[in-house]
Symmetry: C2
Subunit: 439 residues, 2 copies
């Protein structure tokens, strides 16, 4: 007798029961359908990359979190991807001669980070990414189109109460220069933590970075939210600056993106021009945005992204500016589940369980279930032995919407007894009408 | 200036250009739609498992091929899954109280094997698995239903010319006992290599396993293909045996599965009762099958599976018999591509590219593309600067079916110039008719 191995799940990994998995997959399908509808091409890169590729950006925090591969016959140094952006950069650099630019791709896949485990943090999780990558240049219109994808996705998930917080890094950098902050990066990284750490700690951090008390006061006055987007834009307009400097360019970009987001169908009241959004990473250079569920802001941003100057400078000398966006689906599912906000949760996955009463009805039942399946109606046939009670109990457990009973009488009449489990109502339906009836 | 990192792909990994990726995803979608239509529940387990879980079956060959994880802050011994069956076993053992049995699950995911790279062998590849797992028992009807899923899938891929080779391990074991072979396992493993190695080498291997020359002759007479399934069944019927012994039980099972496969919609002429199919692994105990593309048998089986007695004996004392099937999608795609048999390859992914002629038409164009996208018609709007020639060249490159042009005239008339790229035909269509026109 061999000893049993404990089948428990490792912490930091998500594994769902069937009913929840169906909901997760429905959410993933909504994401994918919209990515496709917006004309993004699917991409599927290996989960394993050469470490050299993954660390090409230097790394820092991520280096510590990486899952390295020990072997696999090959001796090259490999690891699991920690995002989908580095693989995209490698892919575009490798295939730039074969792609049409602007290149629009989506990728939905698992990424790996060996983070300390805690509620809401996963070591393996799905990212759902879209990027539009230009060759040499990419128009600002794309910055407004990207949030529209997200808006459509969340609307279809029944999560219409979202607010898009949009900002512009060029504007922030320009502003910092104006008030005499020469190295804006650490300041923007600190501002990024405002929601998490609060103003006091962020002020302290910025002071440590060598910024004067006066400049810090100016920064926090600047970041102060206005009553409306129009007020914020008016405030920005009121700031004097040279035409063509970073602040002026950023301001013009932010204004245009705000207006075109509306043209792309996002109501103005769902957009917040939010000067405190910085998206920590140095990587972003222009438009940045985050998306919050109204009333559930503590969940954090459910879709974030921004404009970058150069996607693949570590792999190629070609200039590849782009804009991208990412939804962390695993975390989103987990948070929605905790907040009891999961969409699609009350749908029946299995539409019909076909049950022949005896062996004589088996072939008629097999034929019927075949028709349902050809029509892509998820359905099963129950051919295990056992009493009727066991069969109905099975129908309950799998959450079937209908049980389709075929006994001797039904068979002779060419009919099927269709029972809706939720209501208990039963009706005799002609065999050739069943498909229509349960659709 | 930092040195550039080489963006090349590691050998043994598949990464496709966008047009091919679309085809791959269409094939995957057909697989998934049919798995769902047949009432299998989705499952998604972690790619990383504890090594203890993966090696619970002992391992052997696979142990050498495994991708081990070096770290990720946790110090536990982890590795990448090499199939989807071991994770299923762990999952069912862990959740058996929460599942409805028979438990029908599908899983489509990547698995990892550090094989020596060669054409058609991948280190990362998709497996598409279905399994039906019983608790205590599982009726034989399920063995006939499983190939029907495969039949529907390949029919929808336009690959109807398949043959299902079906056999029964119990029958083979019973036969071996009858002719005095006491340890049938190595013999069945040798027979499994018949196609690859040829009769002579297989005979030599079986002889090495200590089987007498006479028994070997008998085995090869037994394996000899007949003219028809009916002849094969008649031959099996002609062999004397005690009622209830393995041979008799296997024979009855094989006969029933053959008949019910036809009830489930597979024409008899697409089924071959093939006594030489053994599916090497000891794991299988009853029905076994492989699926071949007629005329392309050298590709190997494109979908294989079988019946097992106990799914999860390493994780639980519960008795969990089942039947499963696997399609190796990455390899299948690769082989079909090489044989120029890829389905869906001539479809347009992007249906429409909307092109406003000037800035004045931009908002009308944005509105139009929004309508197409809401209707889930993959479409793009072209807002980059540049001449008309550049825009049409982009439409060609992305393989758009239609270009929807809006100039000043069209705008004033509330119309759109719809050009079909393949034919060059152009027609003026009223704005509110466009959706209908290009659907």
């Amino acid at each position: 007798m061999t000893e049993l191995v404990n089948p428990s799940l490792q912490s930091g990994f998500m594994e769902l029961l069937p009913q929840d998995q169906v909901v997760f997959n429905r959410m993933k399908a909504v994401v994918e359908e919209n990515f496709a509808a917006f004309g993004f091409w699917p991409l599927d890169t290996p989960v394993i990359e050469r470490s050299e590729v993954l660390f090409s950006k230097g790394g820092g925090e991520t280096t510590k979190q990486i899952y390295r591969i020990e072997k696999g016959e090959s001796s090259s140094d490999q690891a699991l991807r920690f995002d989908l952006t580095v693989p995209l950069a490698r892919y575009v650099a490798l295939h730039s001669n074969e792609l049409a630019f602007p290149f629009r791709r989506y990728q939905i896949g698992k990424v790996y980070r060996g983070e300390r485990t805690q509620r809401g943090r996963f070591r393996e999780f799905y990212q759902c990414d879209i990027d539009i990558v230009g060759h040499g240049s990419l128009s600002l219109h794309n910055d407004a189109e990207i949030p529209a994808v997200i808006f459509n996705i969340f609307r279809q998930m029944g999560l219409e109460n979202v607010t898009f917080h949009v900002n512009n890094r060029r504007l922030l950098n320009g502003y910092m220069a104006q008030i005499g902050v020469t190295d804006p990066e650490p300041v923007l990284r600190s501002i990024d933590k405002l929601q998490k750490m609060g103003e006091e700690k962020v002020r302290a951090e910025i002071e440590e970075a060598g910024v004067s008390q006066q400049a810090i006061d100016e920064i926090f006055t600047f970041l102060q939210p206005s009553q409306s987007n129009d007020e914020t834009l008016a405030m920005l307009q009121s700031i004097d600056c040279e035409e063509g400097d970073a602040f002026a360019v950023g301001r013009a970009e932010l204004t245009q993106v705000y207006e075109e987001m509306q043209a792309f169908g996002i109501p103005a009241k769902k957009i917040s021009i939010d000067l405190s959004i910085t998206r920590g990473l140095d990587y972003y250079t222009g438009t940045v945005f985050e998306t919050f569920l109204n009333g559930y802001e503590s969940i954090g941003s459910i879709a974030s992204g921004g404009r970058y100057d150069d996607l693949a400078s570590n792999f190629t000398k070609e200039h590849l500016p782009g804009i991208g966006l990412s939804i962390g689906l695993t975390r989103l599912f987990d948070q929605l589940q905790a907040a009891d906000l999961l969409p699609f949760a009350d749908e029946n996955y299995i539409r019909a369980l076909v049950v022949p009463m005896g062996e004589q009805q088996q072939n008629m039942a097999i034929e019927l279930v075949g028709k349902l399946r050809t029509a892509k109606i998820p359905s099963q046939i129950y051919l295990e032995s056992g009493k009727m009670k066991k069969k109905f109990s099975y129908a309950d457990k799998i959450g079937a919407k209908y049980v389709l009973l075929i006994g001797e009488e039904e068979q002779n009449a060419g009919k099927v007894a269709v029972k809706e489990l939720a209501t208990g109502e039963q009706e005799l339906v002609a065999l050739d009408q069943v498909l229509e009836y349960i659709k």
